[in-house]
């Protein structure tokens, strides 16, 4: 049987609402569940959550658009966030940023056409003693230098698809 995205998301969210309770205070945890599962928060999920919680969809959209870790648009499989705050700037941010753009072939704020990488800035990742800090999905890299970018990107590429078997761990410094 063909299941549409709408039906799939509705089913998931009903289960989530069952578990958490239909409480406005659970709006952000619900959105975080959708994000974890789908990589972004589609319109249909916002509508569905609004129905479940008995609020206007605009309320949900307002929340999604406010937080930088909640996104409506699909992102790459790997979301690369480079810390741009002062201690990391002092630790050579601009050069690493340029090399990331060069190696990924995208600018900050963009997603690669193959859907694998999204490149974003982050504000202070709290690793100021070990700058430069880079967060890829939930994995943290510290003391990153330009020469490590190639290896880090390669490791990401090798965690999926045809090259998955050739996976090598890149040791962050």
């Amino acid at each position: 049987m063909l299941i549409t995205l709408e039906e799939e998301i509705r089913g998931e969210l009903e289960a989530v609402a069952q578990k958490m309770g239909k409480d406005r205070a659970n709006l952000i945890p619900m959105l975080q569940e959708v994000k974890t599962k789908h990589g972004h928060i589609p319109d249909v999920a916002m509508q569905e959550i609004a129905d479940l919680l008995g609020i206007h969809p605009v309320e949900v959209y307002g929340v999604v658009s406010f937080y930088s870790f909640l996104n409506e648009e699909p992102q790459g499989r790997f979301v690369v966030r480079l810390c741009r705050t002062i201690s990391c700037e002092l630790a050579g941010r601009d050069a690493v940023a340029r090399q990331l753009e060069n190696d990924l072939g995208i600018a900050f704020g963009e997603t690669s056409t193959d859907g694998y990488f999204t490149l974003e800035w982050a504000n202070c990742l709290g690793m100021c003693d070990q700058g430069l800090a880079l967060l890829i999905n939930d994995r943290l890299f510290t003391a990153v230098t330009t020469d490590q970018i190639e290896g880090i990107v390669k490791e990401c590429r090798h965690t999926f698809g045809d090259f998955a078997s050739q996976r090598e761990e890149v040791q962050p410094a």
Binding site: F66, C124, G126, D129, Q130, F141
Partner: protein
């Protein structure tokens, strides 16, 4: 990931359950008196007396009270809460239980910033261990009627949620926009109930104070700023890390500890703090002189202070919640001003206008974020006027390399 460097810390010397046991030997009122006597003030930066906050919360007869741990550590240059949560989470949870006992709360929440999501599994495992040891849950340590349990709630990447009323809005499922204060959360907080919001470090110290005694704590620091503080030191120094030092320590001593001697300036208090030029390095870091949440960023002689001001202002443009005009629009105008200064195109009178705008933002913004956002810029204009005026215009080609915008490719 490498371990963060620290000096000798007090936390490992506090045995599990010591603080909580000591608390349970006292009445809630007696416990609040001990914390008040210790002089412990909020370690997140605002410095509100912790004992007083607990007293306000305890004084209400609201049926449902909450204790919230503010783990939304987002101030640029601050990472001490990360170290505490990674290495000493029990002290924090125990501190929450102590606060719950003092105020009569039975539910707790840790608002953990989204960027620290990798800490979550360990925090939840430690919570479970503490439940098994009866240090959380129902009838804690055999005390009938003292029930307290907690959960981790994740933030979603918004610096302003470190402001306690914005944090509560976020927990309630709203945009993280600060509320008007008063009423304060100790009166009208989470779900309009009495809520005590404390910083990670404050709660850990509360446990230490109960374990070691308020007089031990008063043996450190100054009259107005008693006790110890964790400093997150980064920037141009040999040994960046987390250092435990008494409050009142002067900037020079901080530089000695981290090997940052010869610095041109030190930013105390992160992006919302102040930039201190070398001439003021004998000033003390404490609530009565230079207040801080613990962020210390060292700038070596080679650094361009205007670029530093620009970095901080861009941070605020990005993180302003957009609710009030002085903060939303003011920071944009200040960023433009920094660009004009960088290009050597800012007249003295325009600089006066920018300073005046900054001062207006300090009084007219709604919350602490907006009120403190122009601090770094204003202190850099004050301390480094000669350095920022009359610059050589930068050619368009070099700009990409110096202003941090890497979108334009050659």
């Amino acid at each position: 990931m490498i371990a963060t460097k620290t000096n000798r810390l007090t936390y490992p010397t506090v045995r599990p359950a010591d603080g909580l046991n000591a608390a349970l030997r006292m009445s809630p009122g007696g416990l609040i008196e001990v914390i008040k006597y210790s002089g412990l003030k909020g370690r997140g930066g605002a410095g509100f007396p912790t004992g007083l906050k607990w007293q306000f919360a305890a004084g209400s007869d609201s049926p449902q009270k909450y204790v919230i741990c503010n783990a939304d550590e987002g101030e640029p240059g601050t990472f001490k809460d990360r170290v505490i949560l990674a290495d000493f989470p029990e002290l924090v949870f125990e501190g929450m239980a102590i606060a719950a006992y003092a105020t009569g709360a039975d539910r707790g929440m840790i608002y953990l910033r989204g960027e620290y999501v990798y800490l979550r599994p360990r925090l939840e495992a430690v919570m479970e261990e503490m439940r098994e040891a009866n240090r959380l849950g129902a009838g804690i340590l055999g005390r009938a009627g003292f029930d307290f349990d907690l959960e981790v709630r994740m933030g979603a990447g918004a610096y302003v949620c470190g402001e306690e009323t914005a944090l509560i809005e976020s927990l309630e499922g709203h945009r993280g926009e600060p509320r008007n204060r008063p009423p304060f959360p100790v009166d009208t907080g989470y779900q309009r109930q009495v809520t005590t919001v404390n910083n990670v470090e404050t709660l850990a110290w509360a446990t230490c104070i109960l374990s070691k005694g308020a007089d031990w704590w008063r043996g450190f620091g100054t009259e107005q700023s008693t006790g110890l503080k964790l400093f997150s030191i980064s920037g141009d120094c040999e040994d960046p890390g987390v250092y435990e030092l008494p409050l009142g320590v002067c900037v020079d001593e901080l530089l000695d500890v981290c090997g940052g001697n010869g610095a041109k300036a030190v930013q105390i208090g992160g992006a919302s703090g102040r930039c201190i030029p070398a001439i003021d390095f004998e000033r003390g870091v404490c609530y009565e002189d230079l207040p801080t949440g613990g962020s210390v960023i060292v700038f070596g002689p080679q650094r361009d202070m205007l670029a530093v001001a620009g970095n901080f202002l861009e941070f605020f443009v990005d993180e302003s919640c957009g609710q009030c005009t002085p903060c939303r629009e003011g920071n944009e105008v200040l960023v433009e001003g920094v660009k004009m200064l960088e290009e050597g195109a800012c007249s003295s009178s325009h600089l006066h206008e920018l300073v005046s705008l900054g001062e207006t933002m300090q009084v007219a913004s709604k919350c602490g974020l907006g009120q403190s956002s122009p601090n770094a810029f204003l202190s850099i204009v004050r301390g480094f006027r000669e350095e920022i005026l009359g610059r050589e215009p930068v050619s368009a080609l070099d700009q990409g390399a110096t202003d941090g915008t890497t979108e334009s490719k050659p």
